[in-house]
């Protein structure tokens, strides 16, 4: 359809106004872009500065002779004569083996993830695929509110309530231990894994479900065999985020783990994690002492660890996505 009488848009008043408006729109667009780039830049610079600061304070472990007589890398990681692996930074003969702390951190984190991921992913799959709109309106906010509870409150709950329940259920010697801490941590991990995987399930296109149902698959088969694989990159990303949260979370483990630096395989021994150690000890440590630098070394280690977990996680998510979309 053509009409010869139509004026070219620049010539009408509306056209001119529109052009002017578009011009200012372009300006705000550019301004917004600059602003966003600026923010991203500031965030990256802050990240680098934090790392530089922590790294600088950790460096004496490698460079300062005085610090190294008490705490060099060997003393941190290798078994010491007569004492083995011991974390006793404040004693006549300080010992700085970080292996019990590493074990404690890993135990709590793994228990938390193993406990939280199946629960959260199943709940997310249920809300996205089976729940009635009404149930969804209840479940989703309820779990998301869990994310907003301050971790000190969660920790308090674990310390006062959960620990007692678990102890009487399993007959443990120590009320506060790796499992209590892990389950407490999972309360912080579940909302993250739930929210991110629920998004992943909901964004699986409806036409995949239609295709499956039209072949005579049940809703359950569709959810399990089509929606779950289709959302796998998002679910993996959710797990990585949950893992990062678990490894860095401090308050809950500080309150629910017992804080004894025990090196063992047992899930019912008390533990002491990296994050709780830093939180408990950095306030009272003598500045510049070997203990002080070891705590910063632990901080730097935690920083690098989470950084690499996120990096591998992202790489893996990308690979899954590529495999799913296929080719190039």
């Amino acid at each position: 359809m053509r009409s010869g009488r139509l004026l070219s848009p620049e010539k009408t008043i509306e056209g001119k106004l529109l052009q002017k408006f578009r011009g200012s729109e372009r300006l705000t667009d550019r301004l917004a872009a600059v602003l966003i780039k600026g923010c991203a830049f500031v965030a990256i610079v802050a990240l680098v500065l934090i790392f530089v600061f922590i790294g600088k304070e950790a460096l004496p472990i490698f460079t300062s002779p005085e610090v190294r007589t008490e705490a060099d890398l060997g003393k941190l990681l290798l078994p010491q004569p007569e004492r083995g692996f011991v974390w006793q930074p404040v004693s006549e003969r300080p010992a700085y083996s970080i292996l019990p702390l590493l074990a404690g951190t890993l135990k709590a984190t793994i228990i938390a993830v193993v406990f939280a991921v199946p629960l959260a992913v199943a709940a997310a799959l249920f809300t996205s695929e089976f729940a009635t709109p009404w149930a969804r309106e209840v479940i989703k906010p309820a779990i998301e509110i869990l994310a907003g509870i301050p971790s000190v409150v969660v920790g308090f709950f674990c310390l006062m309530v959960l620990a007692g329940w678990l102890q009487s259920a399993f007959g443990w010697t120590y009320r506060l231990n790796a499992t209590t801490a892990g389950i407490g941590l999972s309360l912080a991990v579940i909302p993250i894994v739930y929210t991110v995987s629920e998004d992943a399930f909901s964004s699986v296109p409806q036409r995949f479900r239609d295709g499956s149902v039209a072949m005579g698959a049940s809703r359950w088969q569709t959810a399990w065999r089509v929606v779950l694989p289709g959302a796998s990159p998002g679910v993996l990303a959710a797990c990585v985020l949950g893992f990062g949260r678990a490894i860095g979370e401090t308050m809950i483990v500080l309150m629910a783990s017992g804080n004894a630096a025990v090196l063992s395989w047992s899930a019912s021994d008390s533990i002491r994690t990296f994050s709780a150690t830093i939180a408990a000890e950095l306030g009272e440590v003598v500045m510049g002492s070997p203990h002080y630098h070891v705590l910063f070394f632990i901080g730097a280690f935690l920083f690098v660890l989470t950084f690499f977990i996120n990096l591998t996680g992202q790489w893996w998510v990308g690979r899954l996505q590529k495999k799913l979309r296929g080719g190039s």
């Binding site: 239609d210 039209a214 005579g216 065999r225």
Partner: protein, 257 residues
């Protein structure tokens, strides 16, 4: 209504009414679909072609607020009775969608999906079944080396063929196709049409199409719908050359230009 002498219809609706909430989408539709033939359903956008197609495998059941009255028969048996097994119905009456929708799985897993959920094959036979289904749609030679590649990496035409293979793997009796070529270029369309001509020797096919030439080329019967009514149905040749209803004539002459 045209008599189909001596042939029992594969699918049949009698005085079918369908409502989306208060919207009357199908009005007193009575149509028979001949076995082992291609029936084309044509008509302007929004006249209820897809809705009618979805009636035959009860895909409308997934839409909230749909009401339906009248009879729908498969091999003379009602498919809307109380004891209809919907999953078995959908295994018999499969559907190909407008937009190719292979699952986000490998080529192999896509074709193996139906046999797995319906437990049609043990794992030894599964491979043969996948191979046979891919051969039926002419995909085998192209894809035999890429069975583990993601189905989403295929070209649109290959994806649509894969969706047909995936259906054939559950040994259906009826193929419902909702504008299966509308996302494809002319060459790919011609190839799919050729495939349908082969498949009609074994399957009953009902195809919705926007493309008049396509209906004329491939179908044995044509049904013309308008505003939820079935205006005319008959042998394709007859409908296109000697339409009985003036509305059909108008549509066809308009569309052929």
């Amino acid at each position: 209504m045209r008599d189909i002498k001596g042939v029992t219809p594969k699918l049949e609706t009698r005085a079918l009414d369908l409502f989306y909430g208060h919207f009357h989408a199908l009005k007193q539709v009575s149509v028979s679909i001949r076995p082992r033939a291609i029936t084309a359903i044509i008509g302007p956008s929004g006249c209820g072609k897809s809705t009618l197609l979805r009636v035959f495998n009860r895909m409308n059941d997934t839409i909230p607020g749909v009401r339906l009255s009248g009879e729908v028969l498969l091999d003379g048996q009602s498919i809307y009775s109380r004891n209809t097994d919907i999953q078995r119905l959908r295994k018999k009456v499969g559907m190909v969608f407008q937009r190719p929708n292979p699952f986000p799985l490998s080529v192999f897993e896509n074709v193996a999906y139906g046999p797995k959920i319906h437990r049609l094959a043990n794992s030894g036979d599964l491979h043969e079944q996948v191979e046979a289904s891919l051969k039926q749609t002419g995909l085998w030679d192209d894809l035999k080396g890429r069975l583990n590649a993601s189905a989403l990496s295929l070209s649109p035409e290959q994806q649509q063929r894969l969706c047909i293979s995936r259906l054939l793997a559950v040994e259906p009796e009826v193929l419902l196709m909702d504008e299966p070529c509308s996302a494809l270029d002319p060459i790919a369309t011609a190839q799919i049409e050729e495939l349908l001509m082969q498949l009609k020797t074994q399957y009953t096919i009902a195809i919705v199409t926007h493309n008049m030439q396509q209906a004329a080329r491939i179908s044995d019967e044509t049904a013309y719908m308008l505003l939820g009514e079935l205006v005319e149905v008959g042998q394709t040749n007859a409908v296109f050359t000697r339409p009985r209803d003036p509305r059909t004539e108008q549509y066809i002459s308009g569309r052929f230009g």
